[in-house]
C-alpha cells in the first residue's frame, strides 16, 4: 500500500503523447501555453497526472504573468495535493508568485497542504468539508488523500486502532466496514478484535513497520564492484 496515487495513473493518453513531446522539444516557448492549459483540464477529467507538464506551464506563467489563469493554477495545485506524499505541491508553489498565493482559494489549499504534511487528518477533513466549492472541480480528490493517509499509517503502524484509521480516512460506521472488507480481500489487511479495546486493523508488513524485514544493504556488494576484480581472479 506504499504507492499512494492509484487514482492518478501516469499513463500517457493519445493526447498526452503530443504534449509531452512539445515539452521535450521546446519547453521555453510561450506558444504552447494554451496546449498546456488544455492538458491540465484533460488531466482533471481523465484522472491522469503529469507533474512535468504542469511545472512547465507554471514556468511559462512566470515569464508571462498577464496570461496566468488562476483557475488553472488552482487545478494544478489540487492535482499536486493528490500526489502526496510526493513534494509536488511545494514544487508548484516555488513557481507561483507570492501575491497570487495571497488569494483566498490558494490560502485554503496551502492550509490543506500543511495539514497533510503534518498528518493532522481530522483537521484536514474539517477544512476540506468547508472548501467543497474549490475541491469538487477535481474528481478523485478524496480517494487520493485516503491513499496518502493509508500510506503514512502503513509506514508507522503494525496494528492500528479502528478509531485512528476512521479519523485518518474520514470514513465511519457501515462505510468503514465496507472499506476495511475491501482492503482485507485486496490489500492484505487483517482484522483483530480485542475484548476491552475494540477493533484493530493489522496493516500489511513492510520494512518500515517491521524493521527486521529490512534487507541489510551493507553486506551486499553490487555486481559492478565485483566485476572490477574479475581480471585478477582469472
Amino acid at each position: 500500500m506504499a504507492n499512494s496515487t492509484p487514482n492518478q495513473k501516469q499513463q500517457p493518453s493519445a493526447m498526452s503523447y503530443t504534449v509531452e513531446q512539445l515539452i521535450a522539444v521546446n519547453p521555453y516557448n510561450p506558444d504552447i501555453l494554451p496546449d498546456l492549459e488544455n492538458y491540465v483540464n484533460e488531466q482533471v477529467s481523465s484522472q491522469t497526472y503529469s507533474l512535468s507538464a504542469n511545472l512547465c506551464l507554471l514556468r511559462l506563467y512566470q515569464f508571462e504573468p498577464d496570461r496566468m489563469s488562476t483557475q488553472i493554477v488552482a487545478r494544478i495545485l489540487i492535482k499536486a495535493l493528490m500526489a502526496m506524499p510526493a513534494p509536488d505541491f511545494s514544487l508548484c508553489l516555488f513557481l507561483i508568485p507570492e501575491r497570487v498565493q495571497m488569494e483566498e482559494q490558494f490560502k485554503t489549499l496551502i492550509v490543506l497542504s500543511h495539514y497533510l504534511e503534518t498528518a493532522r487528518f481530522s483537521q484536514f477533513w474539517d477544512e476540506a468539508a468547508k472548501s467543497r466549492h474549490i475541491l469538487d472541480a477535481v474528481p478523485g480528490f478524496e480517494q487520493a488523500v485516503q491513499a496518502y493517509a493509508i500510506h503514512v499509517l502503513s509506514l508507522t503502524y503494525q496494528r492500528v486502532p479502528r478509531s485512528v484509521l476512521a479519523e485518518a480516512i474520514n470514513v465511519e460506521g457501515m462505510s468503514l466496514d465496507k472499506f476495511i472488507e475491501h482492503q482485507v480481500s485486496n490489500s492484505g489487511w487483517a482484522i483483530e478484535k480485542s475484548q476491552d479495546k475494540g477493533q484493530f486493523i493489522i496493516l500489511p508488513s513492510n520494512e518500515f513497520n517491521h524493521p527486521e524485514l529490512k534487507k541489510s544493504t551493507a553486506d551486499s556488494v553490487p555486481l559492478e564492484h565485483i566485476a572490477r576484480i574479475f581480471p585478477i581472479l582469472g
Binding site: H114, L155, F208
Partner: protein, 484 residues
C-alpha cells in the same frame, strides 16, 4: 552576420556612460602590452595552441588587467582590431572579455548591458551555427556561459529595481525589450546544452541525475541546463552545489548530505592547488555556503555518520554552536535556519519584465523572499521532530501515553507527530519506491512504540574488494623488480 555593425557605435556610446568609469579613460589608447597580448592570443587561436591560449587567458589577461586597467575598461574593440586583422570572431571574443572585466570592476550602464547581450548573441550564433574551426580551453568556455548566466541575473536584478529608474532608462528598456529576454536566454542555453552533448556525456557517466537549471534557479525538478565541462573545477563545484541545494529543497536530505560531504572533502584536499586560480575566491565562497547547507541538512536529518571526519570537524568549528541551537524548537532556532538559508541559497530572479504602466515598485527581492518563506514553512512543519528524536533515542519501547506526557502534548497530537516524522523521513519516487532518510526507526503496535536500534553498517565487502585490488597492484609491482 551583422555583428560588426554594433561595434561602430560602441566607442560613441561609451562617452555618455562614462560617469561610471574612471575619468581620463581613452578607449582608443592601446598600450604596447595589450598590442602584444591580442597579437599573441590571436595567433595562438589561429594555430589552435590550446595550452598557450589557456596560459594567456588565465594569467596574462589577469596581470595586464591588474597593471593597466584596475580602474578603467580595456581599450575598445575598434582600437585593437587593427592588431588582429580585424578578425570578426576574435573581436567577439575580445568584447566578451571586455564586458566581463567591466562587469567585475564597475557597474555597467543600461546601454552597456544591452551591448553585451548583442555581443553574446553574435558570439553564440558563431558557436552554434558557425563552421568556425576553433578550439578554446574548457575553462574559458565555462566562464563564458557562467558569465552569460550571471549577466542575465544581474540584468533581472537591475530591471527589477524600478523605483530609481530615470525616464530615459525606462524608454530604453522598452525599446530594447528583446535584450536579455528570458526566452532568448533559455533557448541559447538549451541550444548550447544540445550542442555540447553534455546530457549524453553525463548519462555515460551515470550521473544523469544532475539536472538543474542555473537560470530559473527555483525550478528544482526540471531543466537540464547543467553544463559540466569535465575537468573544470569551478563548474564541477557549482553543479554539486546546485544539485545539493535542489535535494535539500526536495527533502532528499541523505542525498544532499552525501553530495556536500563528497565535494567538501574534495575541496579540502585540493584547495592548495587552486590558490592561484582566478576562481579561487569563488571556490572558497561556495565552500562556505555548502558548509551552511550541510549544517541545515544535518539539523533536519541528523545522520552525522554520513559525513567524513575532516569535513565534520570543519563543520563543528564553523557551525557547531549554531547547530546545537537549531535543534531547539524555539524562535532562536528558527531564526538560525533563516540566517543560514539566506546566506547559502543561490541567487533567485524574477525573469519577467515589469509592467511599465503600473506604479513603479522594486521587485528584485520577491523571488528570494518566496523561497525563504517556503523553506521556513518546511522547517516549521518539522520543528517538533527533534524533540521526539531525543526521546526515541533513549527508549527501546515506550507507551504513547507516557511519551505524550513527557512531550507535554495529548495522545492524538503525539500520533500526528510520529506520523509526520515518518512522512518527512521517507521519500517516494515516481515509481512508488520508498527510500528512508530516517535516523531513528520505530513502529507503533497498538499503543506501544517500539524503537529499533539502527546498527552502524560496516562495509566489509567493499573494504575487501579494495584491498584485493591493492594487493594485486603491489604484487605486480614486486614482479616487475628484477633482482640482479
Amino acid at each position: 552576420m551583422d555583428g560588426t555593425a554594433s561595434f561602430d557605435y560602441d566607442s560613441q556610446q561609451q562617452k555618455p556612460g562614462a560617469e561610471s568609469v574612471a575619468a581620463g579613460y581613452d578607449p582608443n589608447y592601446v598600450p604596447d602590452s595589450v598590442k602584444s597580448f591580442v597579437g599573441h592570443m590571436y595567433r595562438h587561436i589561429r594555430e589552435k595552441n590550446v595550452y598557450e591560449i589557456h596560459q594567456m587567458y588565465e594569467t596574462s589577461f589577469q596581470s595586464i588587467s591588474d597593471r593597466f586597467f584596475k580602474d578603467s575598461p580595456w581599450p575598445s574593440v575598434d582600437a585593437v582590431a587593427p592588431y588582429v586583422d580585424n578578425d570578426h570572431v576574435f573581436c567577439l571574443l575580445y568584447r566578451e572579455m571586455w564586458f566581463r572585466h567591466l562587469y567585475a570592476r564597475h557597474s555597467p550602464t543600461l546601454r552597456q548591458r544591452i551591448d553585451s547581450w548583442d555581443n553574446y548573441c553574435s558570439l553564440f550564433q558563431v558557436v552554434l551555427h558557425g563552421v568556425v574551426n576553433m578550439q578554446l580551453p574548457n575553462q574559458w568556455l565555462w566562464d563564458m556561459v557562467d558569465e552569460f548566466v550571471y549577466q542575465f541575473q544581474s540584468f533581472c536584478q537591475y530591471r527589477a529595481k524600478m523605483k530609481s529608474k530615470t525616464e530615459q532608462e525606462i524608454a530604453l528598456l522598452r525599446q530594447y525589450d528583446q535584450a536579455w529576454n528570458v526566452y532568448g536566454v533559455l533557448n541559447f542555453l538549451q541550444a548550447l546544452v544540445e550542442k555540447s552533448t553534455i546530457i549524453q556525456i553525463l548519462e555515460q557517466e551515470k550521473e544523469g541525475l544532475v539536472q538543474f537549471t542555473a537560470t530559473d534557479g527555483y525550478d528544482y525538478n526540471g531543466g537540464s541546463n547543467v553544463l559540466k565541462f569535465l575537468g573544470v573545477i569551478g563548474s564541477h563545484i557549482t553543479t554539486i552545489y546546485h544539485y545539493g541545494f535542489a535535494s535539500l529543497m526536495l527533502r532528499r536530505y541523505v542525498d544532499a548530505i552525501r553530495e556536500f560531504n563528497k565535494i567538501l572533502l574534495y575541496i579540502y584536499k585540493t584547495k592548495q592547488y587552486h590558490q592561484k586560480s582566478p576562481q579561487y575566491e569563488q571556490i572558497l565562497k561556495k565552500n562556505e555556503q555548502m558548509y551552511a547547507l550541510l549544517a541545515i541538512s544535518l539539523s533536519l536529518c541528523p545522520q552525522v555518520m554520513l559525513v567524513e571526519e575532516t569535513v565534520n570537524s570543519q563543520l563543528r568549528e564553523k557551525y557547531g554552536d549554531k547547530m546545537l541551537r537549531m535543534q531547539r524548537s524555539d524562535d532562536e532556532g528558527f531564526a538560525l535556519y533563516d540566517e543560514l538559508f539566506s546566506y547559502a541559497c543561490p541567487k533567485f530572479i524574477t525573469p519577467s519584465a515589469p509592467s511599465y504602466e503600473e506604479p513603479l515598485v522594486n521587485y528584485n527581492q520577491d523571488a528570494y523572499r518566496l523561497q525563504l518563506k517556503l523553506f521556513l514553512y518546511e522547517v516549521k512543519q518539522q520543528q517538533l521532530l527533534s524533540g521526539v528524536r531525543t526521546f526515541l533515542k533513549v527508549y527501546s519501547t515506550i507507551s504513547l501515553g507516557k511519551l505524550a506526557t513527557y512531550m507535554e502534548v495529548d495522545e492524538p497530537t503525539l500520533r500526528t507527530i510520529l506520523m509526520t516524522y515518518k512522512h518527512k523521513t521517507h521519500a517516494v519516487d515516481s515509481e512508488g519506491k520508498i527510500t528512508s532518510n530516517a535516523d531513528v526507526n520505530f513502529y507503533i503496535d497498538d499503543d506501544m512504540i517500539h524503537v529499533v536500534e539502527s546498527k552502524l553498517a560496516k562495509r566489509y565487502g567493499d573494504y575487501f574488494l579494495r584491498q584485493i585490488v591493492k594487493l594485486e597492484g603491489v604484487m605486480s609491482d614486486v614482479d616487475r623488480i628484477k633482482l640482479e
